[in-house]
Amino acid sequence: MRRVLAVDDTRSMLGLLVECLEDGGHTVFAASDGREALAALDTHRPDIVITDLNMPNMTGLEFIEAARQRPEGRFVPMILLTTETAQELKDEARRIQASGWLCKPFDPDQILDLVDQLT
């Protein structure tokens, strides 16, 4: 059982993700944008973060970049879950030390495997 922070601004996507993770027996914290995620990171100290990229207020990339500057976020796996595929964005993700890039739509089993694999 892991503590997972799920971040997505689309309520249905967030709902699916949270449910999938909870079905996998994990404790899930949900946030709807980067800013909330950053606050949740401090409060809940998750073992792994799965975040959307395009979000209002603070994007997934901005969030990870900010999170890596904090002790709470330094070695935590942070996965971008997105429909974006642009190489520039991936390059940016690498630069800010995102752990991985996962394409939507996601397969629930794949997500659960991933949590097991990385934590």
Binding site: L16, E19, N54, L61, W101
Partner: protein
């Protein structure tokens, strides 16, 4: 996961919102707005729908939206010009998306051919005129691929990048996990730097990992997550390479758009009947509270400050509670208005008109029940304006007007009501024809004495229709009377004003809510009545010096230099004047919107109070001039006056009477 359906419903609701936004953005573009903000926002709406559609396995919607997204991305990157060529395609695509969404939601037949045509025109746009490449396959290939290529032993070279650890990866965890998918052997390779040069957070070595009987797809899933932070070689490809459409989104780095105030607000969906129960209950509490307060004030002798204070606080809180409950039911009128541009576009094609619609005041909040009932009359008004009001482009040019007509749809709060205006710049109402038709159909006895405004409003009479041809759009004989009936059923009024050659304006005023009303309670001949406070201007004392009597019996009151007609309530009800009529010495001035300001004679003012409206329709029958009833604090029933329609009725009666006399003379 049986909750998936719930999320799907939520997704559909989100799609409705997103499509509404998309329509708005496209309409803005259509109006000449080409800023990156609006382009990004439009892209994002399409993008979000695609993401969700793919997640919920809605293939038709996903494939179509994918092509759309490509074009929108090209638009925001400037590869495709947003102009007269591309915009119609985008608009059609957004309509088609709505159709596909409906199909996904409710099933039913899908117009495959049309979908294909629109998809092709999108593809043509994206390809810069090249033949359509068809919709690109989606990422689902990843899951659907056959796993036939299972190699016996696979050797993978894994070279972690310098940021492998700082990006949150852990070599030990990775090796343990790899063990679960068939890792047979791992060897370390690479040169260790001198201890002094060793960066504890960098990984200078690489691993050679041998897997036995591992499926290629499993290996690819396993390693793909390290793509960003390591170089990986040796994973066998299966069939086609993972078809991640790299070319789709060459998004600029600042592509994540600043959304226009559309912050995420947490929300909860509640069935309307539960809220209605709450509204009713709160209504009852308001009445009970008023009763209690009144009884207290009667039974209590002497002053009891504490009790009085508590009662005041209670009534304030009850009032606040009522406001909060009503706010739950309020929603922006946008949900209705946003459908109108689409209706206009469709009608343009059917009617061969060129019309653009300008919408403002979409954020005006109105009660849900009102919103739902508004779609039909509004649609009908727009149809009417486009069919009868706005001329064909040729006629317009001949009349020296711009080729495309303009419809202006606005909403604004006006006191306790919402005012919706629809203006067109068409030919206006043909008054001669209206009078001729009204006479012919026996709707009026004579045109004498009708003001131009009266004539314009004849079009609301049942059975009135000037369309000599029956078109599929608005000329079926059901016309503006249906609109009027619908609006009146909502406690609203509608009227029209037209300038020949320049256009017509329809005004609809509606109550913000159908449940409560801020009212002034007055007493007339021992009966209590409620006048909507929004209509009350002031109360004035009457004396001989400020009153005038006309020869026809009409009484006028002077107020700051102007004379206003004053009426006896029984007179408005059609009763004979009571003998005590002249003794009334107070009048409240009421704004009727249609007939200017009038005075209403009363015996005394009781006070202003929020009253819970109980419809007469459900309990008795509708009566012109009475919009409902309420129960006062003392348990008495008071009628709620609809002064404008009372005055209208009175005018009508007066008009009829002299005419009858003339005819019989």
């Amino acid at each position: 996961m049986d909750q998936d359906e719930d999320y799907k419903d939520l997704f559909f609701t989100e799609c409705d919102e997103l499509l509404g936004e998309l329509q708005d953005h496209l309409t803005q573009m259509n109006d000449g707005e080409r800023g990156s903000e609006v382009l990004n926002a439009a892209f994002r709406a399409v993008h979000s729908i695609k993401g969700g559609a793919a997640a919920f396995g809605l293939d038709a919607l996903t494939n179509f939206t994918h092509g759309f997204e490509t074009v929108m991305d090209d638009c925001r990157a400037g590869r495709v010009q947003v102009d007269g060529t591309s915009l119609p395609v985008l608009l059609r695509a957004s309509d088609m998306m709505l159709e596909l969404l409906e199909h996904s939601r409710n099933g039913g037949a899908l117009r495959q051919a049309e979908v294909h045509v629109v998809a092709q025109s999108l593809a043509a746009l994206a390809g810069g005129g090249q033949p359509p490449a068809g919709s690109a396959p989606m990422d689902d290939d990843l899951q659907d691929e056959p796993d036939e290529a299972t190699a016996d032993t696979v050797t993978v070279q894994f070279r972690p990048g310098r940021t492998f650890l700082t990006s949150g990866h852990d070599p030990l965890r990775m090796l343990r996990s790899a063990d679960r998918i068939g890792l047979a052997e791992v060897r370390i390779a690479g040169d260790l730097p001198a201890l002094a040069d060793l960066d504890p957070l960098a990984c200078p070595w690489s691993w050679t990992m041998s897997f036995v009987e591992a499926e290629s797809a499993t290996l690819r899933d396993f390693f793909s997550i390290y793509d960003l932070c390591a170089e990986i070689d040796g994973i066998p490809t299966v069939g086609a390479p993972p078809s991640i459409p790299m070319q789709i989104a060459k998004a600029s780095r600042n592509a994540t758009p600043p959304m226009t105030g559309l912050g995420y607000t947490k929300s909860l969906r509640v069935p309307l009947d539960r809220i209605d129960r709450l509204v009713n209950l709160v209504g009852e509490i308001v009445i009970t509270q008023a009763t209690v307060a009144q009884e207290m004030s009667q039974t209590r002798q002497g002053s009891d400050d504490m009790l009085e204070h508590s009662i005041d606080a209670l009534s304030r809180q009850v009032r606040e509670m009522q406001d909060s409950v009503m706010a739950i039911r309020a929603q922006p009128i946008k949900s209705v208005f946003s459908r109108m541009p689409r209706i206009v576009r469709d009608l343009c094609a059917t009617l061969k008109r060129e019309v653009r619609i300008e919408v403002s005041g979409e954020d005006t909040e109105v009660d849900t029940s009102v919103i739902e009932e508004l779609v039909e009359p509004l649609t009908h008004m727009i149809r009417n304006a486009m069919d009868h009001g706005i001329e064909s482009p040729e006629e317009r040019l001949a009349a020296g007007k711009p080729r495309d007509g303009v419809l202006r749809l606005t909403a604004q709060h006006r006191g306790e009501r919402v005012l919706i205006t629809l203006e067109d710049d068409g030919r206006g109402i043909d008054r001669d024809r209206v009078v001729a038709v009204a006479l012919e159909r026996g709707l009026i006895a004579t045109a004498a004495g009708l003001s131009t405004e009266d004539i314009d409003n004849l079009i609301f009479l049942p059975g009135f229709s000037t369309a000599s041809r029956v078109s599929s759009v608005s000329g079926r004989g059901v016309g503006m009377d249906v609109v009027k009936r619908k609006i009146q059923a909502l406690g609203g009024r509608c009227l029209t004003r037209s300038t020949p050659g320049q256009g017509t304006r329809f005004q609809v005023t509606l109550p913000l809510t159908l449940a409560v009303l801020e009212g002034m309670i007055v007493e007339v001949s021992g009966e209590r009545y409620v006048v909507p406070l929004s209509a009350v201007i002031e109360a004035i004392q009457l004396c001989e010096s400020n009153m005038e009597h006309l020869h026809n019996g009409q009484v006028l009151v002077a107020r700051r230099g102007e004379y206003l007609p004053v009426y006896e309530l029984p007179e408005l009800f059609g009763d004979d004047l009571p003998p005590d009529a002249t003794r009334r010495n107070m009048a409240i001035i009421v704004d009727t919107e249609t007939s200017g300001q009038v005075g209403l004679l009363v015996d005394r003012l009781i006070g202003q109070r929020q009253v819970v409206l109980k419809g007469l329709e459900a309990n008795f029958k509708p009566i012109t001039g009475i919009s409902g009833a309420t129960i006062l604090g003392d348990g008495r029933v008071a009628l709620i006056l609809d002064v404008p329609s009372l005055i209208e009725r009175q005018k009508h009666a007066r008009r009829q009477q002299p005419q009858h006399r003339k005819e019989t003379a």
